[in-house]
């Protein structure tokens, strides 16, 4: 932490006002934890989910324990296809950068699993509800591992 400066002012009723400029920077080692196999899967170009070894319920985002029966889950690979529920064009960059605005963001229901993901759609076109999309892995070092992939529009909405 460091003090960057001070300011003085006069407040309501003539009361004195004094302000401190303070700067703080934090660095973290963020444990991705039980989602680690998903992040490692991205390096192999695959999206992964978990499935309950007891009742067979599937989970995305992956869960280590099944919400239905508390049984431990196993990992499996997803086909990487899905369907758009809704999409929007976003006019500001995401916090880690890596995408120049405006960009297209969609809520995508993923095939082969119960659940979905909010993620980027490649290109300028905002897909309609029901549009089919397929994951594409992007070359180069992403600004955040989750930005190693995005979705491409495959077909027109029904």
């Amino acid at each position: 932490m460091r003090v960057t400066g001070t300011e003085r002012n006069v407040g309501p009723d003539g009361r004195p006002v004094y302000l401190l400029g303070v700067e703080m920077a934090q660095r973290y080692r963020h444990a991705v934890g039980s989602s680690s196999p998903f992040y490692l899967g991205l390096e192999q170009g695959v999206l992964r989910a978990t499935r309950c070894t007891g009742c067979g319920a599937s989970w995305f985002p992956p869960r280590r324990f099944c919400e239905e029966d508390l049984t431990e889950t196993d990992w499996y690979d997803l086909p990487g296809t899905g369907t758009v529920v809704a999409a929007t064009r976003v006019h500001s960059p995401p916090p880690f950068g890596g995408i120049d605005p405006p960009y297209v963001l969609a809520s995508i229901r993923l095939d082969g699993v119960r659940g979905g993901i909010t993620h980027r759609v490649i290109g300028d076109e905002t897909p309609e509800h029901g549009a089919a999309v397929t994951v594409e892995f992007i070359d180069g070092a992403p600004a955040h591992p989750l930005l190693a992939f995005a979705f491409a529009i495959e077909g027109e909405a029904p």
Partner: protein, 404 residues
């Protein structure tokens, strides 16, 4: 006099600071002290000593730069020695704190609870830092890397609402106009404005279809309410019988999947937690026809369309009719239910920990007929507050009403 067993808890006092863009003359503890003092004086107390416990409401340590702020605030408002708990529930923080105080009174743990909340969401940090901090409200591992503005998930929800029900951007722009206009009559509001639907639609784009004037404000501010049993007010609050008595008639809370894309396709454009919270609160309050029985509602208008969706999920209009309701004036001043007479988050502003409490201050003041001027809802007897965290991950609905 209505007993606490019948009413849950009586509202003995309310107080709040103005909501503003930046208080260069006050820290968060100063603002909370102002609001808490106002609530205690409103109850007719000359000292905080009769109060049994405190509930502190604030969302973010990042904005307040003070860990263990609950104890600091408790000390600041004069409750040292009494139990205090800090409550956090995102955008629903203030309302959740009131609900927590209610449970303490209902359980018999306390006879009086001072709820105080504040936040410095305004310009104590630069815009980039504020956006970065607020982005942590999304799921840090699955959502924050892909969107930094909450306009995005709200935009996804309203986009599906538009497709399914024919809702238009002009309809929710009417809400942005209404709430800013209402705020013009509220001396404590952050920024009332006289604007048009065209102004909203031509403001800077955030996340389609949302534009700058569809979004709410980030404010500095604080608010407080004093809840108590009937016995306690008889003993300690000389002002209680001098004006219309107000109680919490019902309270409900529920959760939903925090990540929007985990939710069912059927419920995607709706706030499922809001429906559940409202159902519980209405049941407790004996409300079976909300638009006929509720006189005013302070609704969580984080985005204009979120208020439109809330009309439906709070049962104020049929599902799918939110767009029509937004445009036909039924929730404007003089309408069936006056929604956000304070100006809402768009006009009065939002200091997160204080927001749900400031809503309660407005509702209680309205029921007491103390607001006056064009903002006063004539003959108001029942009012409610609605807030949620994230895009509806946690909802709290509190219903207040005149008793006797």
């Amino acid at each position: 006099m209505t007993t606490s067993a019948e009413s849950g808890a009586l509202v003995a006092g309310v107080g709040m600071t103005p909501f503003v863009g930046f208080r260069d003359d006050a820290s968060v503890r100063d603002m909370v002290a102002e609001a808490a003092r106002a609530a205690l004086l409103d109850a007719g107390l000359s000292s905080p000593s009769p109060v049994d416990m405190g509930v502190a409401a604030y969302e973010s340590d990042h904005f307040n730069r003070q860990l263990s702020l609950g104890q600091v605030l408790s000390d600041t408002v004069g409750l040292t020695g009494k139990p205090v708990m800090r409550v956090e529930g995102g955008g629903a923080t203030g309302a959740l704190a009131i609900r927590t105080a209610l449970t303490a009174i209902r359980s018999g743990e306390a006879r009086s609870v001072l709820v105080f909340g504040g936040e410095t969401n305004g310009r104590s940090v630069d815009r980039t830092t504020a956006i970065e901090i607020l982005a942590l409200s999304a799921d840090f591992e699955w959502e924050t890397p892909v969107f930094g503005t909450f306009a995005a998930p709200y935009a996804l929800m309203i986009t599906e609402h538009m497709r399914r029900y024919g809702t238009t951007a002009e309809q929710f722009a009417e809400i942005a106009v209404k709430n800013r206009r209402m705020a013009l009559d509220n001396p404590l509001a952050h920024r009332g404005m006289s604007i048009t639907v065209e102004d909203v639609r031509s403001s800077a784009p955030l996340s389609d279809p949302y534009r700058l004037f569809d979004a709410s404000l980030l404010s500095d501010g604080a608010a407080a309410v004093l809840l108590a049993t009937g016995d306690w007010v008889e003993q300690h609050s000389p002002t209680f019988t001098e004006r219309p008595p107000v109680a919490i008639l019902g309270s409900g809370s529920a959760t939903d999947r925090p990540r929007l894309s985990d939710r069912s396709e059927e419920m995607f454009p709706h706030f499922a937690a809001k429906r559940k919270a409202a159902a519980r609160a209405y049941r407790e309050a004996g409300i079976d026809n909300p638009p006929d029985q509720i006189d005013l509602a302070e609704v969580y208008d984080s985005f204009s369309g979120a208020e439109l969706q809330a009309y439906e999920d709070l049962g104020l209009c049929p599902v799918g009719h939110g767009g029509l309701a937004a445009a036909d004036g039924r929730f404007d001043q003089g309408g069936q239910v006056v929604v956000n007479p304070s100006g809402g988050l768009m006009g009065r502003g939002s200091a997160v920990g204080a927001t749900g409490i400031a809503q309660a201050v407005e509702v209680v003041s309205q029921i007491r007929d103390e607001v006056g001027g064009p903002r006063q809802v004539p003959g108001a007897r029942i009012g409610m507050t609605d807030t949620h965290a994230g895009v509806g991950s946690l909802s709290v609905v509190n219903v207040f009403g005149r008793v006797g």
